[in-house]
């Protein structure tokens, strides 16, 4: 492993200046569960590592019924998942974030880091997408917001410009009748990467209930996590039935652009896309009909 400089930034400005000065040869460290492994294994080389854990804004974890959830990019999963579970909010996000590594990794890994690592198979990104999460990005030109589905641009590639970093994620409040979930398929029950993953959210209204909003997202079946708009759109206006969920799964299967690799085959991933979307929708629906506390 090559030697590199380390900076623990104490303010957003200090981090932005340090990152901008290195013109792409610097990398942000939050939990480090991806970055440190990549550096050790020679898969990534940097001159400077900027630790954002001492930046107050990156450690915010707040919930407000009007504005929703704000998760700083340095908040470890264990803290966020504990916060969500204690408050009984965003169970679909908690389900996804709880899958990131074992107990020790949960103590370090962050939602922001999982997003910025931009793995096509990241477990939390489809969940962020179906929750309509916004990425709060800061940089030399100030702050900007980007929908989660637009953040990843390729495997390991993001929309961040030189000098920019992800400061926090904001999720809108879960409206009445809303439910979301994320499921993945792994051959092993733990210590594995999704062969395919699916996030789904829906919102019910009326009696008998109809779906008035829905989102479907896939992981590990394309170069980036995928928002499948047509699958979500197919659900709107329909009753929450197995047939409707299966039709959304069929559309998701068609939208998948999977490959063969050491973790699975393209045919398997395509097939799983449909199965997992239906399963995610079934749980999302249960949550929606129970008022989101499941």
């Amino acid at each position: 492993m090559r030697a590199f400089e380390y900076l623990s930034a104490s303010s957003v400005r200090e981090a932005v200046e340090a990152l901008a000065a290195r013109n792409g040869r610097a990398r942000v460290l939050a939990g480090g569960t991806d970055l440190i492994v990549q550096l050790r294994e020679g898969r990534r080389e940097v001159d400077l590592v900027v630790d954002i854990k001492a930046i107050p804004e990156a450690n915010r974890l707040e919930f407000d019924l009007q504005t929703g959830l704000l998760v700083g990019a340095a908040v470890p999963c264990y803290r966020m998942v504990g916060f969500l579970n204690a408050a009984g909010i965003y169970p679909g996000l908690a389900a996804a974030a709880g899958l990131v590594g074992g107990t020790q990794i949960q103590g370090r890994a962050t939602l922001g880091g999982n997003l910025c690592n931009a793995s096509p198979a990241a477990d939390t990104i489809p969940a962020l997408i179906v929750h309509r999460a916004a990425c709060l990005i800061t940089g030399p030109q100030g702050e900007r917001e980007l929908p989660a589905e637009d953040f990843c641009t390729g495997p390991g590639q993001t929309a961040l410009q030189p000098g920019e970093f992800l400061l926090a994620l904001r999720l809108p409040p879960e409206p009445e009748g809303f439910g979301a979930h994320y499921v993945r398929f792994t051959p092993r029950n733990e210590m594995d990467i999704a062969v395919a993953g699916a996030g789904a959210s829906l919102r019910l209204a009326g009696s008998p209930a109809r779906i008035i909003e829905a989102r479907v997202a896939l992981g590990a079946v394309a170069p980036t996590p995928l928002l499948v708009r047509e699958a979500g759109a197919s659900l709107v206006g329909k009753a929450p039935t197995l047939e409707a969920f299966e039709e959304a799964g069929r559309l998701a299967r068609e939208a998948a652009r999977p490959i063969d690799d050491m973790r699975g085959t393209a045919a398997q991933r395509r097939h799983l896309s449909g199965v997992l979307v239906r399963r995610a929708l079934e749980t999302a629906y249960q949550r929606a009909s129970r008022g989101g506390d499941a």
Binding site: M1, R2, A3, E41, G42, F185, P187, R188, N189, E190, M191, D192, I193, V195, D261, M262, R263, G264, T265, A267, Q268, R270, H271, L272, V275
Partner: protein, 749 residues
């Protein structure tokens, strides 16, 4: 005589002597070693599966500050081709040298090409990047059937087929064709009412030990070489080094450190010769080399992927009339797959009149195969036991009844002509059939129960041990057997049994090659059998010496002194073991003894496994609901460690069956060289594995011991395949039976 009741130590479950050090982290492994002035190494590995090495330029690496030595194949002696025995297999010294460092060709992704020693491992890693190798990339051959084609790219410039003992003339990738024949299979198939014939494919899999290979060497100015390493056999390391480095054996001392798993994969040397050469070249500094898991998976011994065709026929009454198998095993880059041992296992549990076995040892562009727990046996049993399951189905017979009807007994001859002695095959199958698991209902959809049997020949080999009696009645035991699976305990227990003293009185120590007599490695399920036999002899010798001391004290003839129940006596005189030990000073000083044995009467082991699975037909995932492993162990010296061996073998067999396998890309690069993507089962993927110990004592051992460590890995993939068939109605014939393969078999993907 009911021997069970006469044992005082054997059959109990004492704490292991190395337990405290292991659970506190105090036990010393190779990576814990720190020597003054130590240098650290890094290895340059081939990024190509098959390439001619046109040139290697190490000048930039040598010029990097902190670099102390760079070694390439040019630094290794060009040794003669000669075949050396290595326990369960044999190695050709020349090929082994070519494997240590690629000489003319890199033959697999990860093949070591050069190695650097530097003041820190980081400098060494940077220096490796500065080495310029000019490769002529050649097409790789990764598939055993492709490698056997006449027009396949040729790996080795001197390989000609050994065709049943005759050398062929053409260059080839087929190193050998072996054949075993008994009776007349054509006639046997004519007598059959039903026949089943299928082709099976199994993936290349790794032993999966968690401690990576490591070696530290000090090549002294006077020519003496000391090696500290993680190995199953310190004397085997010494033998290999002597040949590869071409130095006298007396110059080499091998110190075995604690070992974090081996499963057959830590018999061969990889880093040891490199560390020795770097030490010599760097000015006689100690040099440590350590692999990471990517190195371990891409460059140390996997076991062979294989293609196996099996045909079996049976009469209406279930009697198997003929069995034929064609087995092609990947050897990796150099000859030496375990195909012949697979041929020994394939129909091992059965007495069959007519058998024909053809086995092929085939080189491909993968790391050379090393032994892995019952080498070659799991592949073979997978094929045979699935075919037997199908025979039972066609005959309308219970699959265990069919196996029992054909089970091998004492006096039955295997296809290779060797007659079985007293074996427990029938007892094991009966115990499985009578087990509550086999009779329990299995309600629910997509669930099925499968069974499979397995055999393993076991081994004896050379073992030495010495001991000295302490004045308090304790005994220091020095053995040469590396302790992988609790053998300090099982060996100490056999000595304690012989000496009729508590096992806590035995202080075992695993010694280096300068300290103890020649001892083969801990492989072939031989250690508790053979080293156990050595300490049995050692105990008897110590008792004889102590009888002489008692005779001296009592002024009688040694033959008049008896030893029973831990007490020496003659007439009315009595002294306990400890009391007599306290009188050593007045009877001539220390009581010490050394023994070396080479017992030949090892007994084969048999196993029968029962497994319940549930298949998710939407994802292809197979969950194991319940697992029972029945095994004849001869005599369980330490039942807890016997159970542990059985459970460990099952766990590895489940991985082999469901999720493990090398994944090479089209260029022959190993894409899953990590413990994340090489999917061994975790504790969450396995149920509690129930074990049933059957004890049919081996008459060829003083305590009835049979090897227990290997046979439990033989039946699992077959048992699981048979269970999947009963759950969802499809026969899986390719390993691993991954979710993707199950979906494919179900027509879903």
């Amino acid at each position: 005589m009911n021997e069970k009741e006469t044992y005082r130590v054997i059959g109990t479950r004492p704490l292991r002597p190395d337990g405290a050090d292991k659970v506190t982290g105090r036990a010393l492994y190779g990576a814990d070693l720190r020597l003054p002035g130590m240098l650290y190494g890094a290895v340059l590995r081939s990024p190509h599966a098959h390439a001619r090495i046109l040139s290697i330029d190490t000048s930039a690496a040598e010029a990097l500050p902190g670099v102390k030595a760079v070694v390439t194949a040019a630094d290794l002696p060009d040794v003669e081709a000669k075949v050396a025995s290595l326990g369960e297999g044999s190695v050709n010294t020349r090929y082994q040298s070519w494997n240590i460092l690629a000489r003319e060709k890199a033959l697999y992704y990860g093949h070591a090409v050069a190695v650097v020693a530097a003041a820190s491992v980081h400098i060494a890693q940077e220096a490796v990047k500065l080495i310029r190798v000019n490769y002529e990339v050649l097409p790789p051959v990764l598939d055993v059937l492709q490698a056997m084609q006449a027009d396949a790219p040729i790996l080795l410039r001197d390989l000609r087929t050994d065709e049943l003992g005759e050398k062929g003339s053409a260059l080839t990738n087929v190193a050998a064709h072996h054949q075993t024949k008994k009776g007349d299979v054509e006639r046997g198939f004519q007598e059959a009412a039903v026949t089943v014939e299928r082709e099976f494919h199994t993936a290349t899999v790794h032993q999966g030990y968690i401690e990576p290979q490591n070696a530290t060497a000090l090549y002294n100015q006077d020519g003496r070489i000391t090696i500290w390493c993680s190995t199953q056999g310190s004397f085997g390391v010494r033998d290999q080094l002597k040949d590869i480095l071409d130095v006298p054996v007396a110059q080499i001392k091998v110190v075995p450190m604690e070992i974090g798993g081996g499963f057959g994969g830590k018999n061969n040397v990889y880093l040891e010769p490199l560390a020795a050469l770097l030490s010599k070249k760097s000015g006689h500094k100690p040099v440590r080399l350590t692999m990471n898991h990517a190195d371990v998976l891409s460059a140390t011994g996997p076991t062979s992927g294989s293609v196996i065709r099996v045909k079996m026929g049976a009469r209406k009454d279930g009697r198997i009339t003929a069995a034929q198998a064609w087995l092609a095993y990947e050897a990796g880059a150099f000859p030496g797959s375990p195909v012949t041992s697979g041929m020994g296992v394939i129909f091992g549990p059965y007495a069959i009149e007519n058998v024909l076995l053809d086995g092929y040892d085939v080189v491909v562009n993968k790391p050379p195969a090393a032994a892995y727990r019952a080498p070659g046996g799991t592949n073979a049993a997978f094929a045979a036991e699935v075919v037997i399951d199908e025979l039972a189905e066609k005959l309308g017979m219970d699959p265990l009844d069919l196996r029992l009807l054909n089970a091998a007994k004492e006096g039955d001859r295997k296809a290779d002509g060797v007659a079985y002695g007293r074996i427990g095959c029938v007892e094991v199958l009966e115990a499985a059939r009578n087990h509550p698991h086999y009779r329990a209902p299995l309600p629910g959809k997509f669930r099925g129960r499968g069974v499979a049997a397995g055999s393993w020949g076991n081994y004896g080999g050379k073992s030495s041990a010495s001991a000295s009696v302490n004045s308090d009645g304790s005994v220091n035991l020095v053995e040469g057997s590396v302790d992988i699976g609790g053998s300090r305990a099982s060996i100490s227990m056999q000595l304690a049994e012989t000496l009729q003293i508590p096992v806590e009185s035995i202080r075992p120590q695993v010694a280096d090659t300068d300290t103890v007599g020649y001892t083969e490695g801990t492989y072939g399920s031989r250690t508790t059998f053979a080293t156990g036999w050595a300490v049995y002899e050692l105990g008897r010798r110590l008792i004889g010496l102590l009888c002489e001391r008692a005779a001296q004290l009592w002024d009688v003839e040694p033959g008049q002194v008896t030893y029973e129940g831990g007490v020496f006596s003659c007439g009315g005189q009595r002294l306990s073991f400890a009391e007599l030990a306290g009188k050593m000073d007045e009877t001539g000083g220390a009581v010490v003894a050394s023994v070396s044995v080479q017992p030949e009467t090892w007994g084969p082991a048999f196993a029968a496994h029962i497994v319940d699975v549930e298949v998710d037909p939407e994802t292809g995932k197979v969950d194991i609901l319940r697992y029972t492993a029945v095994q004849d162990v001869g005599k369980a010296v330490h039942p807890a460690y016997v159970e542990g061996q059985i459970q460990g073998g099952v766990a590895q067999g489940v991985g082999w069956g469901l999720s493990e396998g090398y994944y090479y890309d089209a260029q022959g690069r190993l894409a899953n060289a990590s413990l994340l993507d090489y999917r061994m089962p975790t504790s969450l993927d396995l149920p509690a594995i129930e074990t049933v110990i059957v004890e049919v004592p081996n008459p060829g051992h003083p305590y009835g011991v049979r090897g227990v460590g290997e046979v439990p890995i033989v039946p699992p993939p077959a048992a699981i395949a048979n269970a999947i068939y009963r759950a969802v109605g499809v026969r899986l014939t390719t390993l691993p039976m991954s979710p993707a393969r199950v979906l494919e078999a179900l027509g879903k993907a």
